[in-house]
């Protein structure tokens, strides 16, 4: 309730710190979805993968005592979810968007079911690196406490840009995403490539989920993700399937998500729920502004059902 002079500059600082914290799951899910979509498939089930990752990461961290083992487990659960999506979508005449919706509901329900025993106990959390040794202000220190997963994500984005452009794997992935017929003519098998791409996407989304339960907000609960997964899928479209742009977009969305809690921390409570919905409203506005019915989106993989 202290709306005095000093507390106002805390808001942008808290938004910055919050953006770094909140953006991490967005970053991982969107990079994963980027890989999947480059292969010509869309996986809307990453919302379910995110929640499953959060649950399994927390459970394994609690049972084993090692949060990094939890992160690995979350990634592997994500691979399993990706395998399920990839395999079912490879059956003839099965729609990938519909399967995504089904796996979203399935993942959330399954995580809820299996995660019941892990709601109460406290699991070991991921460590963070303190970048604010130079400052004595607790607000600055709080904002610049950065989790290692975020740094991994930051490194991953340019790595993916390079991999898509310059490696053999990246080239095969792009061929399959641009034209399944051309890929077949070149002797590449389309379905295995797509399944692997979906599994890789699931791996990253699972890790993004483990960040939710093992760092911020830092506990497993049924409602841990409310749409971060699906927002991240939309973010890939906004980022034009470019991993580097995914990173900036994730930061932007993270900042939008951090706005509500930041304002609340300085005592502004009005519009709390609407501010918390800021990432969804922002996503919708961005999609309205950037999509067009007249032309195909720049950078869209041609095999992608969502842009056809």
């Amino acid at each position: 309730m202290n709306a005095g002079g000093i507390s106002w500059w805390i808001v942008p600082l808290a938004v910055l710190g919050g953006a770094i914290r909140v953006s991490t799951p967005f970053l991982f899910v969107s990079l994963g979805e980027c890989i999947t979509e480059k292969s010509g498939r869309i996986n809307l089930g990453l919302e379910g993968t995110l929640v499953m990752g959060a649950m399994s990461g927390y459970a394994v961290s609690y049972l084993s005592g090692s949060p990094w083992l939890g992160v690995l487990a979350a990634g592997l659960v994500g691979v399993a979810m990706g395998l399920l999506h990839g395999t079912i979508c490879s059956l003839p005449r099965v729609n990938d968007i519909a399967v995504g919706i089904a796996l979203m509901l399935f993942g959330v329900g399954l995580a809820d079911y299996l995660g019941k025993p892990f709601i109460q106990p406290a699991a070991p959390q991921l460590p963070s690196i303190d970048f604010a040794w130079w400052s004595t202000s607790p607000d600055v220190q709080n904002a610049l406490k950065i989790n290692e997963l975020f740094l991994i994500g930051v490194a991953l984005a340019p790595l993916l840009v390079w991999a898509f452009r310059a490696t053999r794997w990246g080239l095969i992935l792009r061929i399959v995403g641009e034209s399944a017929d051309a890929a077949r003519a070149l002797g590449y098998r389309v379905i295995p490539v797509r399944i692997i791409a979906t599994c890789t996407g699931g791996f990253l989304a699972g890790i993004g989920g483990s960040f939710l339960s093992l760092y911020y907000p830092g506990a497993w609960s049924e409602r841990i993700s409310s749409g971060q997964g699906i927002t991240a899928v939309a973010l890939v479209i906004f980022a034009r399937w470019n991993p580097k742009l995914c990173f900036y977009a994730a930061l932007l969305f993270g900042g939008a998500g951090a706005l509500g809690p930041s304002l609340q921390s300085v005592g502004i409570h009005g519009g709390y729920y609407l501010l918390n919905a800021a990432p969804y409203i922002l996503t919708l506005l961005i999609m309205i502004l950037t999509c067009s019915p007249k032309r195909v989106l720049v950078g869209a993989p041609a095999e992608l059902s969502i842009t056809k």
Binding site: L44, L84, I88, L91, P92, R93, V94, N95, I97, A98, V99, I101, A102, L103, L105, F106, G107, V108, G109, L110, D112, Y113, K116, S226, G227, I230, T231, V233, A234, I237, G270, G271, Y272, Y273, L274, N276, A277, Y280, I281, T283, L284, M287, I288, C291, S292, P293, K294, I306
Partner: protein, 371 residues
């Protein structure tokens, strides 16, 4: 193998109508057999799942039957839960006719319920028919416009309707929470923020002799109307042509934008009506209790019914039964309450996977063709 492939492709007219009838018959047999088969497979998978959790699958199946249709009480419980599902399924099934995959039933339900509650509070002193009509109109218009927004964005801006309708769900929930905690809050609701309640005299009653509210009848009537609209009117035909082949629809000059807007509005209107019924028959006031997942289960109902409004009615009752049995599974077998959600997820996945077997059941096509 050759014969089977031939059976899957519609026969040319020269072969006579008998062959065509047989094909239509085969398709009808398939339309029932494939979903039922997928249901059986999902129940088996669910059996394996609960067996892994150390519970006997046979006991689970037994309790599910007991908890859904085993007694007059559980049957009424199933039917009461089916009522909103019938309507929220239309949120997905009607836009699906023009080829859109809308999953915004939860948002339409919440927004419809919220605006119906507002109308109910505004009409506190009005006679019951006026108040009920006002609430229904508010719910229908609010829910309809909510999903029409997704349709409009799709048609005029090319925004993917699946993602936008899902985002609209979260935005609707935020609006509900914001209003019942702020402007539209009843100051007397202390520990659980909610809106002021509507007049008790304006509540929808129950069907005589039962505990089931009239919402079930409303849902069934709306579904029948939707079926007639889709299958027996020019508008419905135009919508299905658009959904089947967009290029052909453009070629013959169908008003695609209007069809998209109409089906999305009607779908959302059904969802909004479901929200209004939830307020007027069950909850009396708008609160976070409106967010009960009826919209999401409705998506599954629509897919299981293969987007056919007539099939939605039995499928909604089936899924109402499954969720009604959840309480018993939790109480007597110690399964988490999410068990029925897991089963729903398994059913959803199996139903979608079963899309690939249509036209490939060898004996189905042959038996019907020789009949």
């Amino acid at each position: 193998m050759v014969e089977e492939t031939a059976a899957a492709i519609p026969a040319p007219p020269a072969r006579g109508t008998r062959r065509l009838d047989a094909l239509v018959g085969a398709a009808a047999v398939e339309a029932v057999l494939v979903p039922v088969g997928a249901l059986v497979v999902s129940l088996l998978l669910f059996g394996i799942f609960v067996a892994l959790a150390g519970v006997s699958p046979l006991r689970v199946y037994g309790y599910m039957i007991k908890g859904s249709v085993g007694s007059w009480f559980s049957l009424q419980n199933s039917l009461t839960r089916a009522a909103p599902l019938i309507l929220t399924a239309l949120c997905t099934a009607l836009p699906a006719q023009v080829g859109l995959m809308i999953i915004g039933g939860e948002g339409a339900f919440v927004i419809g319920g919220l605006f119906a509650a507002m109308a109910g509070v505004a009409l506190l002193g009005a006679p019951a028919p006026v108040a009920l009509l006002g609430m229904a109109a508010a719910g229908i218009v609010a829910g309809g416009l909510w999903l029409a927004l997704a349709g409009a964005l799709r048609h005029w801006r090319g925004v993917n309707e699946t993602i936008s309708s899902l985002l609209l769900n979260y935005i609707a929930i935020a609006i509900l929470n914001q209003l019942v905690e702020g402007l539209f809050r009843d100051p007397h609701s202390l520990n659980k923020p909610s809106s002021p309640s509507i007049s008790y005299a304006h509540m929808i009653g129950t069907i005589p002799g039962t505990e089931i509210h009239w919402g079930l009848v409303v849902g069934i009537v709306v579904c029948l109307c939707a079926y007639v609209l889709v299958r027996h009117t020019t508008i419905g035909f135009a919508a299905r042509v658009t959904g089947g082949n967009l290029r052909a629809a453009r070629m013959v000059g169908l008003p695609i934008g209007r069809l998209v807007m109409l089906t999305c509005f009607l779908g959302g209107a059904a969802g909004g009506l479901a929200g209004m019924i939830e307020i007027a028959a069950v909850q009396e006031r708008a609160s976070a209790s409106l967010i009960a997942g009826y919209g999401y289960t409705g998506i599954l109902v629509a897919f299981l019914a293969r987007q056919n409004p007539l099939a939605i009615i039995p499928v909604a009752i089936l899924l109402g039964g499954i969720s009604a049995s959840g309480g018993l599974l939790q109480r007597d077998l110690g399964l988490p309450d999410a068990a029925t959600v897991v089963l729903q997820g398994i059913i959803f996945v199996c139903i979608l996977a079963s899309d690939s077997v249509y036209g490939r059941i060898p004996w189905g096509g042959r038996a019907a063709a020789s009949a």
